[in-house]
Symmetry: C2
Subunit: 136 residues, 2 copies
């Protein structure tokens, strides 16, 4: 298979696949004409990476996961550790975003959004109101 086919089937852009080869994530063979030649196993690997990326794993995580996948002597605890670590980072990101959202939507609600210049959003950025005290 050529790169276009694989891209379509794995759901990963051709450009991205070339990049993955560049960083050594995949190593397709080459045809006589210089085209990359992908075997089914390469397609499988790319689909694996695509799904891992869709779950937010970093490229380095993907490398680790692929290594574990092809390691017969792996322990599922190793995989779980990677996933749990990632899960923790997702939670952190969500918490941060939710906190932003709360602050921002409170400000947006207070803003008249009309033709007048007075704006609590700008006022808060310029000189923030003390945040309500939140117990830990």
């Amino acid at each position: 298979m050529n790169i276009g086919d694989v891209a379509q089937r794995a759901g990963v852009p051709a450009k991205t696949i070339r990049y993955y080869e560049e960083i050594g994530l995949v190593t397709p063979q080459r045809a006589a004409n210089g085209y990359r030649h992908f075997r089914p196993i390469d397609l499988h690997k790319l689909a694996f990476i695509g799904r891992a990326r869709a779950l937010g794993f970093t490229i380095e995580d993907c490398r680790t996961l692929l290594a574990l996948y092809s390691d017969d002597s792996r322990q599922s605890a190793q995989v779980k550790a990677v996933a749990q670590d990632h899960l923790r980072q997702i939670d952190e990101k969500i918490a941060k975003l939710v906190s932003m959202k709360e602050t921002l939507s409170a400000l947006v609600q207070q803003c008249a959004g009309d033709h007048r210049p007075d704006c609590p959003i700008l006022a808060d950025l310029a000189d923030p109101a003390p945040r309500p005290f939140i117990l830990p």
Copy 2:
């Protein structure tokens, strides 16, 4: 004030302030010795930027917000529009992360996390189970 002071008071790293100058976000004066000289207004601006960044606004958003802030003929609707747009993007990010989190935590729960190699996380990445049908 020198950059160290401003950095401390505005809560923005000195390195970042230099970067902000480079991209024209702030324009401190210069002392005879070549040191950047920050006036109170510069500090205020940096604190403004710092808070906007903490709310997740992009640098370009910051530029826009600063322009609106110093525009007497602004309409609060303009500010509100920027904020609402940003809020929408935050919501999108949260939704994406929550979706990842759901999938991933389901997998993590199914993983024994012991010394054996069998792992539903890897199994799913290699060959995903059909996702449960979710009504819109």
